[in-house]
Structure formats: C-alpha cells, structure tokens
C-alpha cells in the first residue's frame, strides 16, 4: 500500500457498533489517522461517502439477514484488504446463540409484529461468506490492536497479532493468576490475547471475549472446572457468552451438552 492516501472503509453488519466506536475512541491518533488515510466510507463517523474500491475495509458485525449476505459480497469485490473486526464479525457474536435454537421462537416472543422480521436462522461470521484477510477479535476490538494493524498495513508490514492465550500477557504484566490465587473462574488459558489481559488486572476472570487462542483446549479446562464444582451448564454458558459459535468453543460446548444429564 504505497500510494499517498489509502482509502479506508468501515462497514457495519449485525452488531452493537462498539467496534466502530473503538475506532472513534482512538482520540489521540484520530487526526493523524485522517491525515494518513482517506476515511472514504465510515457512516458512523461522517456522512461523506467516497466511492470505492477501498484499500482497507473494516467490517463489524455478523451476517444475520439475506440482505447482509448479499451486501458482504459487494463489499468484498470492492475491497483490497478486508479486516473482520470484533467477536460478531469473527465468530458470529452473542447473537449466534440463536444458532442452537429456533429463531422463530424468539421472533414470536419478542416482536409485536413478527411478520415484519426477515432474518436468517443463523448468525455467522464474515469469513463464512467471503475471503477475510485478517481477523481482529474482541468485544469490542482493542483500539491499540486496531492502530497496529492500520500502521503496519500503511508500511506494507504483516500486522503482529499474537495468537497465544491471555495467560502470557497476565504473566508479562505481573498480574497474579486470579484462578490460582483467588479461585475466580477465568477463561484466560483458552482465550486469545489482544486485550493486554484487561479483566484479570482488575481481579476478575477473563470471559473469553477475544475467542479461542490458537491452542485453546476448552474441553480440558471444562474438565478441570467440573472438578472445582463449576456446574456443566455454567461452563457452557460461559463458553457461549460471546464467541460460542467459534469452532473450538462450539465443539466443546456441544460435547458438554451431550454428556450433561
């Protein structure tokens, strides 16, 4: 990406807007960012839209409607480098809880006029529909990690997005393990870092919002937690909280379900 001002687009799919807000939360760097790139299409930030193709496209949210399924194809065709940002875009997000249940039941129970709701039966990640060049997980994404990605791409470098578990960052930071020292249930050993081990630094357990690390072994931790008197439904609930549809958490929770009376 060597041209003067690469064009950047940010799109929203089914999501809460939190990851787009993470971009806007780059307050100290936002002016520099606007100098270095042309923020060509980012409706949450500005109404001006410059046509594509775009050099870097960030996509927030999961695919939950027929319209979204078509729109992501057009966006992909118009983008050189597509980055899925956040748990929804990477794994289907919280709304992927519908994937285990009949979505019609929700529609009937929640909406006054269910006949107006047109939705797919599933919430799925962007990579299920188009080629994704890079995935940044997190609920929301970490703004430092976002910045690293943009700065690296501007220099033609492969962004450094570590695949290992939160535990490593806890240890680098010197945070005593909350699970060992305080008996707090923590998904850190299963979860990809990127958050700088934020939750344990405040004495609470990781709830897995960055999804599985590359070596994540949820079944092994589940076995251990059962031995510590954490009930299986509670383990399933935690693993499904935000990234339940990611293949590793999904496989582990479905197996746990089968073995629960």
């Amino acid at each position: 990406m060597n041209q003067a001002r690469p064009k950047v687009a940010v799109y929203k799919f089914s999501s809460c807007d939190g990851c787009q807000l993470a971009i806007l939360c780059l307050e100290d760097e936002l002016l520099t960012l606007a100098e270095k790139v042309d923020i060509a299409n980012f409706l949450e930030a500005r109404s001006r839209v410059v046509d594509g193709p775009y050099d870097i496209t960030f996509v927030e949210g999961s695919i939950t409607t027929e319209e979204e399924r078509e729109r992501i194809q057009r966006i992909r065709e118009n983008s050189k480098y597509l980055v899925a940002i956040g748990a929804c875009a990477v794994s289907g997000g919280i709304q992927a809880l519908r994937n285990w249940i009949h979505v019609d039941a929700f529609v009937q129970a929640i909406y006054a006029t269910p006949e107006h709701i047109h939705t797919l039966a599933t919430s799925t990640p962007i990579a299920d529909h188009v080629h994704v060049d890079l995935e940044l997980s997190g609920c929301p994404v970490n703004k430092r990690q976002l910045l690293t990605v943009i700065a690296s791409l501007l220099r033609g470098r492969i962004p450094d997005v570590p695949p290992y578990a939160v535990c490593i960052d806890c240890k680098l930071n010197g945070t005593p393990c909350v699970m060992v020292a305080q008996d707090v249930v923590c998904l850190g050993p299963l979860t990809r870092t990127g958050c700088d081990a934020l939750c344990p630094s405040f004495g609470r357990g990781c709830y897995g919002c960055f999804g599985p690390s590359d070596m994540s072994k949820p079944e092994t931790l589940a076995e251990h937690l059962k031995g510590r008197r954490t009930a299986t439904p509670e383990i399933i609930r935690r693993l499904r909280g935000i990234n339940g549809w990611s293949p590793k958490f999904r496989a582990a929770t479905e197996k746990l379900e089968k073995t629960t009376p």
């Binding site: 535990c167 490593i168 010197g174 305080q182 072994k217």
Partner: protein
Amino acid sequence: MLPRVSATVAIPKPDLQQVFDNLRGSRLRLIGPTVVDGAIALGEIERTEQLPIGWSDEQQPGRYRAKHGAEKTYFAFNVGPHSWRRFLHPPRLTLFSAKANGKMTIEHDGEEPPRYAFIGVRACDLQAIAVQDRVLMNGSYRDPQYVARRSNAFILAVNCTKASSTCFCTSMQSGPRVTGAFDLAATELPDVFVLDVGSEAGSQVLEGTSWAPANAFDVGRATEAVQKAERQITREVRTDHLGSLLFEHLESPLWKEVSGRCLGCGNCTMVCPTCFCTTVVDTIDLSGRSERIRVWDSCYTTDFSHVHGGNIRPSLRARYRQWVTHKFAAWREQFGVSGCVGCGRCITWCPVGIDITEVLKAFRSTGVK
C-alpha cells in the same frame, strides 16, 4: 565499626529499616515481597511496613492463598508468582526506537539499566539467578542488560523458615538454606534477624544499625528454624540419571497423557525463575515511529517453534516434552547445571495443577532405573 565478611551478626528486627535506608542512600531501588492482588508478589518498596508483615501463604498444585495472621513475621512465606528474573531479565525491554523519515534514525538506544537491591531472595531463587548467570552472563553470548543489572544488584537473601507443599528445593540441592553468592543472608527469629555477612557491601549496609555478633544461642535457633522448613518439605524428585531416563523415554505414552491434561497456556514457563527465552517484536505507529521490544516468550506458544517451512513442535505433546526434557536433561548438557531449582512455582501456578514431581515419578516408575 562494621562486621567483617563471613561474620554472623544479629540485628533487632526494626533495624531492617536502617538497612533499607542505607541501600536507598547508595541509590539502589529496593525490590522486595509485597502483597499485590491477593498474592505475595515482588515490587518496589521503600519501607519495611511494605513487606508482607504478618502474611503467610498456602500453596498446592493449582492453588495459592495469601493469609494474614497475628504474628509480626516479615518473611513467613515462600516464593510467590514473581521471580527475580522480572528485574534482571525483564518481561518487556525496549532495545531501541527509531523513526522512519526517508531513512531510519535511531532515537533511543536501549534502556539505562536500573540498579537494584533485592530484598528476601530465597535459596531456590538465588540458585535460579546463578543458573541464569551461566546462560546470560558467563557463557559465550553475554546479554549486556542482564550483566549490568546483575553486576550492580545487592542481594539480601532470606533463609526459609517454613516450606510450602509445592517446594522441592531439597531434591534439587538448592535450599532451604541459602548458599552461593549473597551480600547478606538473613534468618528471621521472633526477636532478631540473624545475618550472615557475605560481602563488603553487605557489611557496609549495617552502618547505623545496632548489630552485634550473633551468640551461640541465636545461631542455634536460626539453624533450627531452617531445619524446621527442611522437615516440612514432602515433594521429592530423584535426580540420579534423570536426564538419561527422560531421553530414553522420548516416545513414552506418558507425554501424551500429561499433555492431555495440559492447557498449553505457558504459565509454567512464565513463572519459572530460570526460563530465559525471548522473542523480538517490532512495533510501529502512524507517524512512522518504531520500537524494537524484547519480550519473554515461551516454548508453549506456536510461534516459538515456527521456523522456515513449518512448526518443528506442532503438538502440545512435543512442546510439553520439550520443556521438561530441557529443564531436567538437556539443560545439564548445555549449561552444566539443572534447569530446575525446585521452587515449585510451575506446580502452584499451573491453572490445572499439573505437578512436575508426579510426572517425573511416573517416568521413574516406568523406567528401569
């Protein structure tokens, strides 16, 4: 007048503050045990009140509890989540920073090494420092940051007067009595610290304290206190032919069994006081300012064993085996000492409580030796 080197003296416990003041007067930053987030960790301290006075700990595989009691003890606990390598071989170290503006301009050439006084170094950890000395200071490749930090460090060692259930220093011949190089080595008694003076610097920091030569009664009580700790140690590793035993069983099904229980999180390597592996990360910001940072790495991460053409240890079985065989077998060939000092941290801080002494016992019982 000051005590001579190798003398044994006693000081009233409150005089430890005078020692702290003297060390700080020599512009040393004091690092010692202090209670952080429910654990007795290591941090910067200035006053003795910041020590874990009255605190103790209970350790089991995968479990640590810090507890406060009525007794005004200063060092009635064992090693915690941190080790001294945090300060001698820091987890993150900026090697240099640079600016890209057509050409590369070096803005900042490394960090000025801090000068430390380490308060309360236990026997196992003193041994661990000696192990890292061999790797980072006395071998063919000297790490200048380590050498500077290590050479300037003042060491106030402390003999353990209790042991945790996870301790096995006696098996690794590293404790509980402090041996090796220290400036002062203290044994805590209810009324006094009995101090072995290990260096000229150790003698000088007693300036202004009401030190007196330790009498036979104090020396006897100190010896008994350390023996009490020794008697509390129950975990054991048989070290005879341990290296060859492991190398002969590289294909044992035990590796798969243990790595099946392992989460692969890397915590054992991160808390180990002798692990020294690092990776180098280059960061860049929007303005083109870049930093090269050296960061602790672990043989449990996949990136660690990813080399040209693929990963040389693709399975967790292979990575677990690498760590254990390096610590207990290959290390001895490579550096002439054991890579394990028996501190027990990898047992306590393993989230699922994998016990290395049990693993080695299992190998022993399958082997012929």
